[in-house]
Protein backbone atom coordinates (compact mmCIF):
# COMPACT_ATOMS: atom_id res chain seq x y z
CA UNK A 1 0.00 0.00 0.00
CA UNK A 2 1.21 3.50 -0.82
CA UNK A 3 1.93 5.59 2.23
CA UNK A 4 2.79 9.26 2.60
CA UNK A 5 5.32 8.37 5.29
CA UNK A 6 8.67 9.99 4.60
CA UNK A 7 7.55 11.31 1.21
CA UNK A 8 7.15 15.00 2.08
CA UNK A 9 9.14 17.45 4.16
CA UNK A 10 8.76 20.87 5.75
CA UNK A 11 11.23 23.18 4.01
CA UNK A 12 10.01 26.63 5.00
CA UNK A 13 8.47 28.25 8.08
CA UNK A 14 7.03 31.69 8.71
CA UNK A 15 5.76 33.12 11.98
CA UNK A 16 4.40 36.62 12.57
CA UNK A 17 4.97 38.53 15.81
CA UNK A 18 2.29 37.87 18.46
CA UNK A 19 0.50 41.10 19.34
CA UNK A 20 -2.67 42.40 20.95
CA UNK A 21 -3.42 44.37 17.80
CA UNK A 22 -1.31 43.98 14.68
CA UNK A 23 -3.20 46.67 12.75
CA UNK A 24 -3.36 44.52 9.62
CA UNK A 25 -5.95 42.37 7.90
CA UNK A 26 -5.76 38.62 8.36
CA UNK A 27 -5.17 38.29 4.62
CA UNK A 28 -2.14 40.55 4.88
CA UNK A 29 -0.54 38.64 7.77
CA UNK A 30 -1.32 35.39 5.95
CA UNK A 31 0.52 36.64 2.86
CA UNK A 32 3.39 38.08 4.91
CA UNK A 33 4.03 34.79 6.71
CA UNK A 34 3.78 32.83 3.45
CA UNK A 35 6.36 35.22 2.00
CA UNK A 36 8.64 34.61 5.00
CA UNK A 37 8.18 30.84 4.67
CA UNK A 38 8.93 30.93 0.92
CA UNK A 39 12.09 32.97 1.53
CA UNK A 40 13.07 30.54 4.27
CA UNK A 41 12.72 27.71 1.74
CA UNK A 42 14.36 29.62 -1.12
CA UNK A 43 11.19 29.33 -3.23
CA UNK A 44 8.78 31.75 -4.95
CA UNK A 45 4.98 31.89 -5.38
CA UNK A 46 5.44 30.30 -8.84
CA UNK A 47 6.72 27.13 -7.14
CA UNK A 48 3.51 26.68 -5.14
CA UNK A 49 0.85 24.38 -6.57
CA UNK A 50 -1.02 23.40 -3.40
CA UNK A 51 -2.59 25.15 -0.43
CA UNK A 52 -4.25 23.86 2.75
CA UNK A 53 -6.08 26.11 5.18
CA UNK A 54 -8.27 25.86 8.26
CA UNK A 55 -12.08 25.94 8.00
CA UNK A 56 -12.45 29.07 10.19
CA UNK A 57 -9.70 30.90 8.38
CA UNK A 58 -10.69 34.02 6.51
CA UNK A 59 -8.03 33.93 3.82
CA UNK A 60 -9.41 31.67 1.10
CA UNK A 61 -7.05 30.12 -1.40
CA UNK A 62 -8.35 32.33 -4.22
CA UNK A 63 -7.74 35.46 -2.13
CA UNK A 64 -4.17 34.35 -1.37
CA UNK A 65 -3.38 33.27 -4.93
CA UNK A 66 -4.61 36.64 -6.20
CA UNK A 67 -2.77 38.59 -3.52
CA UNK A 68 0.52 36.78 -4.07
CA UNK A 69 0.35 36.01 -7.75
CA UNK A 70 0.43 32.22 -7.54
CA UNK A 71 -0.25 31.03 -11.08
CA UNK A 72 -0.02 27.27 -10.53
CA UNK A 73 -2.44 26.31 -7.75
CA UNK A 74 -4.19 23.03 -8.60
CA UNK A 75 -4.59 21.31 -5.20
CA UNK A 76 -6.31 22.82 -2.14
CA UNK A 77 -8.57 22.04 0.78
CA UNK A 78 -9.16 22.66 4.44
CA UNK A 79 -9.35 20.94 7.82
CA UNK A 80 -11.38 21.70 10.88
CA UNK A 81 -11.16 23.90 14.00
CA UNK A 82 -8.29 23.85 16.47
CA UNK A 83 -7.61 20.28 15.44
CA UNK A 84 -6.57 21.45 12.00
CA UNK A 85 -2.80 22.12 11.99
CA UNK A 86 -1.36 18.58 12.06
CA UNK A 87 -4.20 17.50 9.77
CA UNK A 88 -3.18 20.25 7.35
CA UNK A 89 0.31 18.75 7.28
CA UNK A 90 -1.25 15.36 6.55
CA UNK A 91 -3.28 16.74 3.61
CA UNK A 92 -0.16 18.35 2.19
CA UNK A 93 1.85 15.14 2.50
CA UNK A 94 -0.92 13.04 0.95
CA UNK A 95 -1.25 15.41 -2.03
CA UNK A 96 2.49 15.26 -2.59
CA UNK A 97 2.77 11.48 -2.15
CA UNK A 98 -0.17 10.93 -4.52
CA UNK A 99 1.43 13.13 -7.17
CA UNK A 100 -1.37 15.73 -7.10
CA UNK A 101 1.02 18.53 -6.24
CA UNK A 102 4.67 19.25 -5.55
CA UNK A 103 4.85 22.18 -3.18
CA UNK A 104 2.13 23.10 -0.70
CA UNK A 105 1.54 26.22 1.39
CA UNK A 106 -0.13 25.77 4.78
CA UNK A 107 -1.30 28.95 6.42
CA UNK A 108 -3.39 30.32 9.27
CA UNK A 109 -3.95 33.84 10.57
CA UNK A 110 -6.17 34.96 13.43
CA UNK A 111 -6.79 38.47 14.67
CA UNK A 112 -7.93 37.10 18.01
CA UNK A 113 -6.62 39.97 20.13
CA UNK A 114 -7.81 42.94 18.11
CA UNK A 115 -11.00 41.04 17.18
CA UNK A 116 -10.58 42.47 13.68
CA UNK A 117 -11.58 39.11 12.33
CA UNK A 118 -12.91 38.66 8.85
CA UNK A 119 -14.94 35.63 9.93
CA UNK A 120 -17.37 36.60 12.70
CA UNK A 121 -17.41 34.50 15.84
CA UNK A 122 -19.75 31.51 15.84
CA UNK A 123 -22.14 33.08 18.26
CA UNK A 124 -22.97 36.00 15.99
CA UNK A 125 -22.56 34.22 12.68
CA UNK A 126 -25.58 33.13 10.71
CA UNK A 127 -23.38 30.64 8.91
CA UNK A 128 -22.98 27.88 11.43
CA UNK A 129 -22.43 24.29 10.45
CA UNK A 130 -24.70 21.52 11.70
CA UNK A 131 -22.34 20.50 14.47
CA UNK A 132 -21.95 24.11 15.61
CA UNK A 133 -25.73 24.47 15.69
CA UNK A 134 -26.08 21.28 17.72
CA UNK A 135 -23.47 22.54 20.15
CA UNK A 136 -24.96 26.01 20.55
CA UNK A 137 -28.62 24.95 20.56
CA UNK A 138 -28.18 22.70 23.57
CA UNK A 139 -25.57 24.77 25.42
CA UNK A 140 -25.86 28.49 24.71
CA UNK A 141 -29.34 29.02 26.24
CA UNK A 142 -27.86 27.80 29.54
CA UNK A 143 -25.00 30.29 29.40
CA UNK A 144 -22.36 27.86 28.11
CA UNK A 145 -21.41 30.23 25.35
CA UNK A 146 -17.65 29.66 25.31
CA UNK A 147 -15.70 26.43 24.89
CA UNK A 148 -13.78 27.20 28.10
CA UNK A 149 -16.91 26.09 29.97
CA UNK A 150 -16.77 22.66 28.33
CA UNK A 151 -13.08 22.31 29.21
CA UNK A 152 -13.91 23.36 32.79
CA UNK A 153 -16.44 20.55 33.15
CA UNK A 154 -14.02 18.04 31.67
CA UNK A 155 -11.34 19.27 34.07
CA UNK A 156 -13.68 19.05 37.08
CA UNK A 157 -14.49 15.42 36.28
CA UNK A 158 -10.81 14.62 35.67
CA UNK A 159 -9.89 16.12 39.06
CA UNK A 160 -12.68 14.26 40.86
CA UNK A 161 -11.86 10.96 39.16
CA UNK A 162 -8.14 10.99 39.91
CA UNK A 163 -8.07 12.97 43.17
CA UNK A 164 -6.25 15.97 41.72
CA UNK A 165 -5.74 19.01 43.96
CA UNK A 166 -6.81 22.55 43.23
CA UNK A 167 -3.97 24.51 41.58
CA UNK A 168 -2.21 21.29 40.47
CA UNK A 169 -2.03 22.59 36.88
CA UNK A 170 0.15 25.54 37.92
CA UNK A 171 3.38 23.60 37.30
CA UNK A 172 2.40 23.06 33.65
CA UNK A 173 1.66 26.74 33.09
CA UNK A 174 4.93 27.53 34.85
CA UNK A 175 7.02 25.38 32.49
CA UNK A 176 5.32 26.87 29.40
CA UNK A 177 5.90 30.41 30.69
CA UNK A 178 9.50 29.58 31.67
CA UNK A 179 10.21 28.38 28.10
CA UNK A 180 8.30 31.31 26.63
CA UNK A 181 10.14 33.86 28.77
CA UNK A 182 13.38 32.95 26.94
CA UNK A 183 11.75 33.16 23.51
CA UNK A 184 12.15 36.60 21.87
CA UNK A 185 9.55 35.66 19.21
CA UNK A 186 6.90 35.07 21.86
CA UNK A 187 4.22 37.20 23.44
CA UNK A 188 5.51 36.41 26.94
CA UNK A 189 9.22 37.08 26.33
CA UNK A 190 10.95 37.94 29.62
CA UNK A 191 7.64 37.52 31.46
CA UNK A 192 8.11 34.57 33.78
CA UNK A 193 5.26 33.63 36.04
CA UNK A 194 5.51 32.68 39.70
CA UNK A 195 3.32 29.99 41.26
CA UNK A 196 2.09 32.66 43.65
CA UNK A 197 0.83 34.70 40.70
CA UNK A 198 -0.85 31.58 39.38
CA UNK A 199 -2.63 30.90 42.64
CA UNK A 200 -3.84 34.51 42.78
CA UNK A 201 -5.00 34.48 39.16
CA UNK A 202 -8.75 35.11 38.68
CA UNK A 203 -11.01 32.08 38.67
CA UNK A 204 -12.66 32.41 35.27
CA UNK A 205 -14.78 29.32 34.90
CA UNK A 206 -14.26 27.08 37.89
CA UNK A 207 -11.78 25.24 38.16
CA UNK A 208 -9.96 27.10 35.34
CA UNK A 209 -7.99 30.18 36.34
CA UNK A 210 -7.19 32.97 33.92
CA UNK A 211 -3.58 31.75 33.69
CA UNK A 212 -4.75 28.22 32.78
CA UNK A 213 -6.25 29.61 29.58
CA UNK A 214 -4.58 30.79 26.40
CA UNK A 215 -4.98 34.45 25.69
CA UNK A 216 -6.53 35.57 22.42
CA UNK A 217 -4.05 37.53 20.30
CA UNK A 218 -3.20 38.44 16.73
CA UNK A 219 -0.81 36.13 14.92
CA UNK A 220 -0.15 34.10 11.80
CA UNK A 221 1.96 31.16 10.71
CA UNK A 222 2.81 29.46 7.42
CA UNK A 223 4.68 26.39 6.21
CA UNK A 224 6.05 25.20 2.91
CA UNK A 225 5.93 21.44 2.38
CA UNK A 226 7.43 19.74 -0.65
CA UNK A 227 8.52 16.29 -1.77
CA UNK A 228 11.47 14.80 0.07
CA UNK A 229 13.47 14.57 -3.20
CA UNK A 230 12.97 18.26 -3.97
CA UNK A 231 13.60 19.14 -0.32
CA UNK A 232 17.13 17.72 -0.50
CA UNK A 233 18.07 20.41 -3.06
CA UNK A 234 16.73 23.31 -0.98
CA UNK A 235 18.33 25.60 1.61
CA UNK A 236 17.07 24.05 4.84
CA UNK A 237 17.55 20.66 6.43
CA UNK A 238 14.43 18.76 5.26
CA UNK A 239 12.14 17.90 8.16
CA UNK A 240 10.26 14.81 7.05
CA UNK A 241 6.62 14.00 7.81
CA UNK A 242 6.88 10.48 9.26
CA UNK A 243 3.36 10.12 10.57
CA UNK A 244 0.17 12.16 10.66
CA UNK A 245 -3.47 11.44 11.45
CA UNK A 246 -6.78 12.99 12.41
CA UNK A 247 -9.56 11.59 14.62
CA UNK A 248 -13.21 12.37 15.15
CA UNK A 249 -15.40 9.94 17.12
CA UNK A 250 -19.06 9.70 18.20
CA UNK A 251 -19.75 12.59 20.63
CA UNK A 252 -16.65 14.53 19.61
CA UNK A 253 -17.24 18.26 19.99
CA UNK A 254 -15.10 21.35 19.97
CA UNK A 255 -12.63 21.03 22.90
CA UNK A 256 -14.55 18.47 25.03
CA UNK A 257 -17.00 15.66 24.24
CA UNK A 258 -19.44 16.21 27.11
CA UNK A 259 -21.87 13.41 26.25
CA UNK A 260 -19.58 10.39 26.31
CA UNK A 261 -19.60 7.97 29.21
CA UNK A 262 -16.25 9.11 30.61
CA UNK A 263 -15.30 12.70 29.84
CA UNK A 264 -12.04 12.61 31.83
CA UNK A 265 -10.06 11.55 28.78
CA UNK A 266 -9.43 12.28 25.12
CA UNK A 267 -10.12 9.22 22.97
CA UNK A 268 -9.44 11.29 19.84
CA UNK A 269 -5.86 11.90 21.00
CA UNK A 270 -5.45 8.20 21.81
CA UNK A 271 -6.66 7.30 18.30
CA UNK A 272 -4.33 9.83 16.70
CA UNK A 273 -1.39 8.68 18.83
CA UNK A 274 -1.89 5.03 17.97
CA UNK A 275 -1.90 5.79 14.28
CA UNK A 276 1.05 8.18 14.13
CA UNK A 277 3.29 5.98 16.29
CA UNK A 278 2.44 2.96 14.13
CA UNK A 279 2.99 4.88 10.92
CA UNK A 280 6.30 6.41 12.00
CA UNK A 281 7.38 3.09 13.54
CA UNK A 282 8.42 4.69 16.81
CA UNK A 283 7.27 4.73 20.44
CA UNK A 284 6.83 7.55 22.99
CA UNK A 285 10.29 6.73 24.38
CA UNK A 286 11.86 7.70 21.01
CA UNK A 287 10.32 11.19 20.92
CA UNK A 288 12.66 14.10 21.74
CA UNK A 289 10.12 16.92 22.09
CA UNK A 290 6.33 16.99 22.38
CA UNK A 291 4.51 20.14 21.34
CA UNK A 292 1.10 19.55 22.91
CA UNK A 293 -2.14 21.49 22.76
CA UNK A 294 -2.03 23.77 25.80
CA UNK A 295 -4.97 25.99 24.94
CA UNK A 296 -5.93 25.09 28.52
CA UNK A 297 -3.35 23.70 30.93
CA UNK A 298 -5.34 20.57 31.99
CA UNK A 299 -5.21 19.35 28.38
CA UNK A 300 -1.47 18.68 28.72
CA UNK A 301 -1.46 15.86 31.33
CA UNK A 302 -4.43 14.17 29.65
CA UNK A 303 -2.58 14.18 26.31
CA UNK A 304 0.52 12.69 27.96
CA UNK A 305 -1.70 9.88 29.25
CA UNK A 306 -3.52 9.26 25.99
CA UNK A 307 -0.28 9.24 23.99
CA UNK A 308 1.34 6.75 26.35
CA UNK A 309 4.01 8.99 27.91
CA UNK A 310 2.52 7.96 31.28
CA UNK A 311 -0.30 5.83 32.62
CA UNK A 312 -3.96 6.86 32.69
CA UNK A 313 -4.61 9.16 35.64
CA UNK A 314 -0.90 9.82 36.18
CA UNK A 315 -0.55 12.88 33.97
CA UNK A 316 -0.69 15.37 36.81
CA UNK A 317 1.83 13.56 39.07
CA UNK A 318 4.03 13.21 35.93
CA UNK A 319 3.97 17.00 35.46
CA UNK A 320 4.23 17.79 39.19
CA UNK A 321 7.10 20.19 39.84
CA UNK A 322 7.63 20.36 36.08
CA UNK A 323 11.00 18.59 35.90
CA UNK A 324 9.87 15.69 33.72
CA UNK A 325 8.47 18.08 31.07
CA UNK A 326 11.29 20.64 31.22
CA UNK A 327 14.07 20.84 28.62
CA UNK A 328 16.22 18.18 30.26
CA UNK A 329 13.28 16.11 31.42
CA UNK A 330 11.89 12.81 30.30
CA UNK A 331 9.84 14.49 27.56
CA UNK A 332 10.39 18.22 26.97
CA UNK A 333 6.97 19.79 26.34
CA UNK A 334 6.17 23.03 24.49
CA UNK A 335 9.79 24.08 24.34
CA UNK A 336 9.07 27.54 22.88
CA UNK A 337 6.23 28.10 25.35
CA UNK A 338 3.23 26.78 23.40
CA UNK A 339 -0.06 28.63 23.52
CA UNK A 340 0.37 29.56 27.18
CA UNK A 341 3.95 30.79 26.90
CA UNK A 342 4.72 31.69 23.27
CA UNK A 343 1.43 32.71 21.72
CA UNK A 344 -1.95 31.46 20.58
CA UNK A 345 -2.37 30.84 16.90
CA UNK A 346 -4.52 27.73 17.22
CA UNK A 347 -1.54 25.35 17.57
CA UNK A 348 0.23 26.40 14.38
CA UNK A 349 3.25 27.70 16.33
CA UNK A 350 3.59 24.27 17.97
CA UNK A 351 4.54 22.82 14.57
CA UNK A 352 6.89 25.76 13.92
CA UNK A 353 8.73 24.91 17.15
CA UNK A 354 8.85 21.19 16.33
CA UNK A 355 10.60 22.16 13.07
CA UNK A 356 13.00 24.57 14.83
CA UNK A 357 13.97 21.82 17.28
CA UNK A 358 14.75 19.40 14.45
CA UNK A 359 16.68 22.05 12.54
CA UNK A 360 18.62 22.73 15.73
CA UNK A 361 17.56 26.39 15.79
CA UNK A 362 15.23 26.53 18.79
CA UNK A 363 15.89 29.16 21.42
CA UNK A 364 15.49 26.30 23.93
CA UNK A 365 17.30 23.65 21.92
CA UNK A 366 17.03 20.04 23.08
CA UNK A 367 20.37 18.40 22.31
CA UNK A 368 20.37 16.22 19.16
CA UNK A 369 16.59 16.35 18.79
CA UNK A 370 15.69 14.09 15.87
CA UNK A 371 12.01 13.18 16.42
CA UNK A 372 9.28 15.66 17.27
CA UNK A 373 5.63 15.02 18.09
CA UNK A 374 2.83 17.58 17.78
CA UNK A 375 -0.84 17.40 18.78
CA UNK A 376 -3.52 19.87 17.69
CA UNK A 377 -7.06 20.11 18.95
CA UNK A 378 -6.85 18.00 22.10
CA UNK A 379 -10.28 17.35 23.56
CA UNK A 380 -12.10 17.79 20.26
CA UNK A 381 -11.45 16.74 16.68
CA UNK A 382 -7.73 16.11 17.10
CA UNK A 383 -4.78 15.67 14.81
CA UNK A 384 -1.22 14.58 15.40
CA UNK A 385 2.11 14.64 13.66
CA UNK A 386 5.53 13.05 13.98
CA UNK A 387 8.36 14.89 12.28
CA UNK A 388 11.94 13.70 11.89
CA UNK A 389 15.22 14.74 10.35
Amino acid sequence: MTSFKNRAAVVGIGLSPFTENCGKTELRTTCETIKTALEDAGLTPRDVDGMIKQTDDASDEHAVTSAMGMPNLTYYGETRWNGAPCGMMMRAAIGIAAGSCHTVVICRAVNGGSKLRTVPSMRTSGQMSTSDLLHWTFHAPFGLSVETGSVAMMTRKYMAQYGIDKDAFGDIVNVCRENGARNPDGFFYQKEMTLDEYQKSDMLIDPLRKLDCRQEMDGAAAFIVTSLERARDLKQTPIAILGAAQATLPDTESMAGLYRKDIAGMPEVAAVGKRIFEMAGVTPADIDTAQLDDSYSPLVPIQLEELGFCQKGEGVPFCSGGDQIRLNGKIPVNTAGGSLGEGHIHNMNHIIEAVRQLRGTSINQVKDASLGLVVSGAGGPASGLILGR
Binding site: T137, F138, F142, G143, L144, M153, R156, I205, D206
Partner: protein, 142 residues
Protein backbone atom coordinates in the same frame (compact mmCIF):
# COMPACT_ATOMS: atom_id res chain seq x y z
CA UNK B 1 -28.23 30.59 44.02
CA UNK B 2 -30.84 31.82 41.54
CA UNK B 3 -29.95 32.98 38.03
CA UNK B 4 -30.48 36.60 37.12
CA UNK B 5 -30.83 37.59 33.50
CA UNK B 6 -29.56 40.99 32.41
CA UNK B 7 -32.27 43.25 31.00
CA UNK B 8 -31.70 44.24 27.39
CA UNK B 9 -29.39 41.36 26.45
CA UNK B 10 -31.32 38.53 24.79
CA UNK B 11 -30.90 34.99 26.05
CA UNK B 12 -29.28 32.94 23.29
CA UNK B 13 -32.03 30.97 21.55
CA UNK B 14 -31.84 27.34 20.52
CA UNK B 15 -31.86 26.74 16.79
CA UNK B 16 -35.02 24.68 16.44
CA UNK B 17 -35.22 22.31 13.49
CA UNK B 18 -37.12 19.18 12.36
CA UNK B 19 -34.81 16.96 14.43
CA UNK B 20 -35.16 18.72 17.78
CA UNK B 21 -38.47 20.63 17.82
CA UNK B 22 -40.32 18.02 19.93
CA UNK B 23 -37.73 18.40 22.70
CA UNK B 24 -38.14 22.17 22.91
CA UNK B 25 -41.93 22.20 22.41
CA UNK B 26 -42.50 19.89 25.39
CA UNK B 27 -41.02 22.43 27.82
CA UNK B 28 -43.93 24.76 27.11
CA UNK B 29 -46.19 22.09 28.66
CA UNK B 30 -43.85 21.49 31.58
CA UNK B 31 -42.52 18.22 30.21
CA UNK B 32 -39.01 16.93 29.60
CA UNK B 33 -38.91 14.43 26.75
CA UNK B 34 -36.16 12.35 25.21
CA UNK B 35 -35.93 10.70 21.83
CA UNK B 36 -36.33 6.92 21.88
CA UNK B 37 -35.87 4.68 18.89
CA UNK B 38 -39.12 2.94 17.85
CA UNK B 39 -37.18 -0.01 16.52
CA UNK B 40 -34.51 -0.82 19.12
CA UNK B 41 -35.58 1.27 22.10
CA UNK B 42 -32.34 3.21 22.56
CA UNK B 43 -32.92 6.53 24.34
CA UNK B 44 -30.65 9.38 23.24
CA UNK B 45 -30.00 13.00 24.00
CA UNK B 46 -29.41 15.29 22.13
CA UNK B 47 -32.04 14.63 19.45
CA UNK B 48 -30.67 13.43 16.13
CA UNK B 49 -31.94 12.33 12.73
CA UNK B 50 -31.18 8.63 13.14
CA UNK B 51 -30.70 6.05 15.88
CA UNK B 52 -26.92 5.62 16.25
CA UNK B 53 -27.38 1.93 17.13
CA UNK B 54 -29.80 0.57 14.49
CA UNK B 55 -29.99 3.54 12.07
CA UNK B 56 -33.80 3.68 12.30
CA UNK B 57 -35.27 7.11 11.56
CA UNK B 58 -38.59 6.85 13.47
CA UNK B 59 -38.37 8.06 17.07
CA UNK B 60 -40.86 8.11 19.92
CA UNK B 61 -40.70 11.03 22.32
CA UNK B 62 -40.93 9.67 25.85
CA UNK B 63 -41.48 11.73 28.96
CA UNK B 64 -38.58 11.73 31.37
CA UNK B 65 -38.87 11.15 35.10
CA UNK B 66 -36.92 14.41 35.44
CA UNK B 67 -34.60 12.69 37.91
CA UNK B 68 -30.86 12.46 37.66
CA UNK B 69 -27.47 12.92 39.30
CA UNK B 70 -24.77 15.53 38.77
CA UNK B 71 -21.99 14.18 36.51
CA UNK B 72 -19.88 17.36 36.38
CA UNK B 73 -20.35 21.09 36.79
CA UNK B 74 -18.72 24.48 36.50
CA UNK B 75 -19.35 27.92 37.93
CA UNK B 76 -19.04 30.86 35.59
CA UNK B 77 -17.47 33.39 37.92
CA UNK B 78 -15.92 36.06 35.74
CA UNK B 79 -18.20 38.23 33.65
CA UNK B 80 -15.83 38.65 30.72
CA UNK B 81 -15.60 34.89 30.28
CA UNK B 82 -19.34 34.30 30.68
CA UNK B 83 -22.41 35.03 28.60
CA UNK B 84 -23.10 38.74 29.22
CA UNK B 85 -26.86 38.19 29.36
CA UNK B 86 -26.59 36.23 32.62
CA UNK B 87 -25.21 37.67 35.86
CA UNK B 88 -22.21 35.81 37.29
CA UNK B 89 -21.88 33.61 39.16
CA UNK B 90 -24.05 30.95 37.54
CA UNK B 91 -23.76 27.18 37.48
CA UNK B 92 -23.75 24.93 34.41
CA UNK B 93 -24.19 21.22 35.07
CA UNK B 94 -24.03 17.91 33.26
CA UNK B 95 -26.77 15.64 34.61
CA UNK B 96 -26.89 11.88 34.13
CA UNK B 97 -30.62 11.11 33.92
CA UNK B 98 -32.16 7.87 35.17
CA UNK B 99 -33.14 7.22 31.52
CA UNK B 100 -29.44 6.75 30.80
CA UNK B 101 -28.82 9.96 28.88
CA UNK B 102 -26.78 13.01 29.83
CA UNK B 103 -28.03 16.56 29.49
CA UNK B 104 -26.54 19.98 29.98
CA UNK B 105 -28.45 22.55 31.99
CA UNK B 106 -28.28 24.95 34.92
CA UNK B 107 -28.46 24.20 38.62
CA UNK B 108 -30.27 26.64 40.89
CA UNK B 109 -30.90 26.85 44.62
CA UNK B 110 -27.52 25.37 45.55
CA UNK B 111 -24.27 27.14 46.40
CA UNK B 112 -21.21 25.99 44.40
CA UNK B 113 -19.45 24.81 47.58
CA UNK B 114 -22.27 22.35 48.23
CA UNK B 115 -22.23 20.62 44.84
CA UNK B 116 -20.64 17.24 44.42
CA UNK B 117 -20.43 14.60 41.71
CA UNK B 118 -23.33 12.20 42.15
CA UNK B 119 -25.63 14.70 43.90
CA UNK B 120 -29.30 13.81 43.17
CA UNK B 121 -31.20 16.49 41.24
CA UNK B 122 -34.62 16.94 39.64
CA UNK B 123 -35.86 19.05 36.77
CA UNK B 124 -37.94 22.22 37.02
CA UNK B 125 -39.10 24.54 34.26
CA UNK B 126 -38.12 28.19 34.15
CA UNK B 127 -39.97 30.56 31.80
CA UNK B 128 -36.99 32.81 31.09
CA UNK B 129 -38.77 34.78 28.37
CA UNK B 130 -42.22 34.98 26.75
CA UNK B 131 -41.36 32.33 24.19
CA UNK B 132 -38.65 30.34 25.99
CA UNK B 133 -38.96 27.79 28.77
CA UNK B 134 -35.73 26.11 29.90
CA UNK B 135 -35.50 22.79 31.76
CA UNK B 136 -33.23 23.43 34.77
CA UNK B 137 -32.31 21.43 37.82
CA UNK B 138 -32.58 21.74 41.60
CA UNK B 139 -31.35 19.55 44.44
CA UNK B 140 -33.48 16.49 45.09
CA UNK B 141 -33.96 15.44 48.70
CA UNK B 142 -33.68 11.67 49.03
Amino acid sequence: MKMTYVQGIPILRPYIDFDNEEFWKAHQEGKLVFQQCKNCGLTVHRPRPMCPRCLDTEPNWVESTGLGKIYSWTTFRYDRAAYPGIQVPYIVVLVDMVEGVRMLSNLEGVEPEDIEVGMPVEVFFDRVDDDLVLPKFKRRET
